[in-house]
């Protein structure tokens, strides 16, 4: 199968690589770019472990061909914060015990990050609905919802303070 050149900007860094037309974005990220935050839990778009942000939308990278992402701007959990300066969502997931085994966490946080831009002040219901594409087998979601609501509150407070 002929390979083609794919250009991606991932977490602010530009990459140019060769990929087979059938190669999935999740595999390019994980295997070729060593970005292993996004995980594979199903490969059928159900679990959300592979969620990344692509051109400002949450996508499940297990069902996007790398070729479809050509030219895209992609953010994964690795691009949200740094060890010395975690993203508020990362802080809040730690603070409110929003994770256990951690396998869903990168997808959860990446999705929540987009959700809070779509809806900066969500109700609990809206968080539950907005996160319904991401499955967690460990936490029962209660503390995930709590973490996201707490992050929304922090972000809003920071925004207000800045105004």
């Amino acid at each position: 199968m002929g390979k083609q050149i794919v250009k991606l900007t991932v977490n602010g860094e530009e990459h140019e690589l060769l990929a087979e037309p059938r190669e999935l974005l999740i595999h390019v990220l994980r295997e070729k770019l060593n970005i292993t935050g996004p995980h594979v839990g199903c490969e059928t778009s159900h679990c959300g472990a592979c969620t990344v942000d692509m051109n400002g939308r949450s996508v499940k990278s297990c069902t996007v061909f790398a070729a479809q992402a050509d030219g895209a701007e992609i953010t994964t959990v690795e691009g949200l914060g740094t060890p010395d300066n975690l993203h508020v969502l990362q802080e809040m997931f730690k603070e409110h015990h929003g994770l256990q085994c951690g396998f869903c966490t990168p997808g959860m946080i990446t999705r929540a990050h987009r959700l809070l831009q779509e809806n900066p002040n969500p109700t609990e219901e809206e968080v539950r609905f907005g996160m319904a594409g991401n499955i967690c087998r460990c936490t029962g979601y209660q503390n995930i919802v709590k973490s996201i609501l707490a992050a929304a509150a922090e972000l809003n407070a920071a925004r207000e303070a800045a105004q």
Binding site: T36, G41, E78, P83, H97, R128, G140
Partner: protein
């Protein structure tokens, strides 16, 4: 010495020891995408393995043609049973005393069974090659019903032909595996036959699957230069895997290193030894390269580790006023094609004999018949101790049915039959010694918290309104009271493949007063690195933040039996405390030497040893650690280390009281959980935050099992629920907010009184959700309906009761 001066309080707080909601140390890496799961591992030159699997549930394998696959560029090898046979690895022993095909040897016995293992340079090439392997099958009649299996002339396991007894005694039929009996059959039957009131019920606890978010996988790497085999994998019991790998391969155990990296959830799925592990090891030995095998979700659901599949028939007897006199239970257990249940050796049906529950039942009898069918092997404990979910579901449904028979309130029926506080330690009719409990207090607290009387009034109003045609929504009040049995277990009666079920901890204090502890267990999300450090902090007075916890590397960690069945806290937690106490004993001698007093004249106080009666004279643990390495202390070896192998004297028996309030739309069968209250008593609480997290998670897995999660087969043995499209995993949208509560009844025999909690919510949650559904329809004559209670089945129940007009 126990005055809580502010200064002392600060020292206690600084330790972040037991009882504090310490934030998890694991979370930094997980929230930043820096976890280290099996599929993240890449070794130089690593190859990828993938399985050719059987599309048939029962068929003869006539031929396997690997030529086209081998011709594909990038394909290195294709293994079949023929290749494994010379190594004697085409079959492997199971944990249950049976054996299982690693690769199809002459026939296949379930859909999805492993037939050939393709090894290629890349996972895409491996997948292509799987398609190119030509297998010729001749299909055979399929049996998916265990009752039919016991009557059938068809011999499923031809390899066992003529064997009239197996690992657990006589076999009654060629598709029968074992009969396991506990209790007094004759007396129980006599009591029930003569009883004033008897309730009978048959119930099916359907087949389901633990389905952790991360599937199973392994990377095997044979270093031919040094003769060392390293196996990374999703193992809930890495040390046992090393022993098994050594016994199977003939490689000496010291030349095998097993490493469990971060594990993305286990829930029982990752206890067993699967063909994928064996094939990646063989492939690595054959090719001399590291070989990775990662199953996909469909393979996970179809081939590794189902749970439940118990057909249970019960009879329970009582006096007219509701005092239970006897319990009889018979189970037909569908074990699939091979008996690969993950239970301690002497317990082929796990701890199903905890089925007398939380009640003082004087006479009981249990018999379990294990049966082969054309379904996947497994039989793991999905978020419960061995078969305890089945047992608790059984008794909690029997109680409800008995309440109907007696025309009595089910909460009251439970209350009058609870084992009383003064009866502990309590000997159950089926052979267990319950360590401690205070069931009445827990029950009263739970019923009061939800205003049980008020709920019953509301429900009566709702039923009246329904009958008047004013509403189409019914209300169910689900109750459950459970007793778990966890912490396997005393070595004298619990082993896995002959390995006694102790566990271990090794502690090493560094000269500057920080420490590392290594355990025989392995976290899959339970937060061991956080909580075990808390136990140790309290025991040795070194802050939890200064203690590293390591697990999962057999080269460095002491031997242990692993993490499942809620055994980590009861067994490894105890080993941790005991190792800590050994450290403390030596520290006491060092402190006395430094303070120039007799050993008995110093005592431990939070983070130091003080001279009795003179608290201003002390040595902190940091001082003592330093001295252990830099001073020659007469009669004391240098260094400060300890190891403990803990063989628990008994299991622990956590318990709890749950109430679920559910609204059900009679016309659509849609359920809405309005409220869920969970009171848990897990003895001493190490980290309340972690405990609550475990409860939320376990309840959600219970909700899943009750409301829709199922591994279903059609008559041809095709798996109907092999993807997440059909296999129900609840999302945030379907899950309620839970209320948690607790009482504390420490275990009297455990060094810190802790009982374990990870699985209680699942065990108690399943009957609670199910009872809520039943309770909603009780006024209309429903006695029992089988799970899963999905919308369609609830609609059918309502329809069957004539509620659709």
């Amino acid at each position: 010495m126990n005055d809580m001066t502010p200064e002392r309080e600060d020292r206690v707080a600084n330790l972040k020891g037991m009882g504090c909601a310490r934030k998890r140390v694991e979370d930094a890496r997980f929230t930043q995408g820096k976890g280290n799961y099996i599929d993240d591992l890449k070794l130089p030159g690593m190859l990828h393995g993938d399985f050719v699997r059987s599309p048939y549930a029962h068929a003869r394998v006539l031929s396997i043609d690997t030529e086209a696959a081998l011709a594909l560029p990038g394909v290195i090898a294709v293994l079949t049973a023929k290749d494994l046979e010379p190594l004697n690895l085409h079959w492997m022993p199971t944990l249950a005393g049976d054996k299982q095909m690693v690769l199809a040897d002459g026939k296949v016995l379930f859909q999805g069974q492993e037939v050939a293992f393709v090894v290629a340079t890349d996972r895409y090439v491996a997948a292509d090659a799987v398609e190119l392997v030509e297998v010729e099958y001749e299909d055979l009649p399929v049996i998916v019903d265990p009752f039919e299996s016991l009557k059938s002339d068809i011999v499923l396991r031809e390899d066992l032909a003529g064997q009239t007894s197996g690992a657990h005694g006589p076999r009654k039929h060629h598709n029968h595996i074992f009969t396991w009996e506990v209790g007094d059959k004759d007396t129980t039957e006599a009591v029930i036959d003569d009883a004033e009131v008897v309730a009978e019920e048959s119930m099916y606890y359907h087949r389901t699957h633990p389905c952790p978010l991360e599937p199973c996988g392994a990377v095997a790497s044979m270093d031919k230069v040094n003769g060392k085999l390293t196996i990374h994998g999703t193992f809930q019991a890495p040390h046992v895997v090393r022993t098994v790998a050594s016994l199977l391969s003939g490689i000496e155990e010291h030349n095998i290193r097993v490493i469990s990296p971060d594990i993305g959830g286990g829930f029982g799925n990752k206890v067993g030894v699967y063909p994928g592990y064996v094939c990646s090891i063989v492939a690595s030995i054959v090719t001399g390269k590291p070989v990775k095998w990662i199953e996909d979700r469909m393979e996970n659901l179809m081939s590794t580790a189902f749970a439940r599949d118990y057909w249970m028939k019960g009879r329970i007897s009582a006096t007219k006023d509701g005092k239970i006199t006897g319990l009889h239970c018979h189970v037909t257990a569908d074990h699939g094609a091979f008996d690969a249940c993950a239970d301690p050796t002497k317990f082929p049906a796990g701890f199903m004999n905890i089925c007398t529950g939380s009640y003082d039942i004087p006479t009981a009898y249990l018999a379990v018949d294990g049966v082969y069918t054309n379904k996947a092997p497994g039989g793991v404990s999905y978020r419960c101790s061995f078969r305890v979910t089945e047992a608790v579901y059984f008794i909690e449904r029997m109680i409800e049915v008995l309440a109907i028979e007696l025309n009595m309130d089910a909460a009251e029926l439970r209350r009058i039959n609870f084992i009383r506080k003064d009866q502990f330690p309590y000997q159950s009719a089926l052979g267990w010694e319950y360590d401690s409990g205070d069931y009445h207090t827990a029950w009263d607290k739970a019923l009061k918290a939800v205003d049980y009387e008020g709920l019953r009034r509301e429900q009566a109003d709702r039923v009246a309104a329904f009958r008047r045609g004013e509403t189409r929504t019914l209300m169910g009040i689900g109750l459950s009271f459970f007793t778990e049995i966890v912490g396997a277990g005393p070595v004298k009666n619990c082993d896995i493949l002959g390995m006694g079920m102790f566990d271990s901890c090794e502690v090493r204090i560094h000269p500057t007063g920080s420490a590392i502890a290594r355990l025989g267990t392995i976290s899959q999300g339970q937060g061991h690195a956080t909580t075990f450090a808390q136990i140790l902090a309290t025991e040795i007075g070194i802050p939890a933040d200064s203690i590293t916890i390591e697990e999962g590397d057999t080269d460095t960690a002491p031997y242990g039996l692993g993490t499942y069945g809620s055994r980590s806290t009861p067994v490894a937690g105890a080993a941790t405390a005991m190792a800590g106490r050994k450290i403390r004993a030596k520290a006491q001698m060092i402190a006395a030497y430094l303070l120039e007093v007799h050993d008995d004249d110093v005592e431990f106080d939070v983070d130091r040893f003080v001279v009795k009666g003179a608290p201003e004279r002390f040595k902190t643990m940091a001082d003592i650690a330093y001295a252990a390495y830099n001073q020659a202390i007469p009669g004391v070896e240098p260094g400060l280390e300890a190891v403990s192998y803990y063989d628990p004297p008994n299991m622990t028996y956590p318990f709890g009281a749950y109430v679920c309030i559910m609204d059900i739309d009679v016309d659509t069968g849609v359920t809405d959980i309005r409220r869920f209250y969970a009171l848990d008593d897990c003895g001493t609480r190490i980290n309340p935050m972690v405990i609550e997290g475990q409860i939320h998670g376990g309840l959600t897995e219970a909700l899943a099992v009750v409301l829709g999660q199922e591994i279903a087969y059609d008559d041809m043995g095709n798996v109907k629920t092999g993807t997440l499209m059909d296999f129900f995993l609840p999302t945030a949208w379907e899950v309620p907010t839970y209320e948690t509560d607790h009482t504390v009844t420490p275990s009297p025999h455990h060094p810190i009184g802790a009982k374990g909690v990870g699985e209680s919510p699942h065990v108690g949650g399943v009957p609670c959700f199910s009872n809520a559904v039943h309770d909603a329809f009780r006024p209309f004559g429903l006695r029992h309906s089988n799970m899963p209670h999905d919308h369609w089945r609830i609609w059918k129940t309502a329809n069957g009761l004539g509620l659709h007009g």
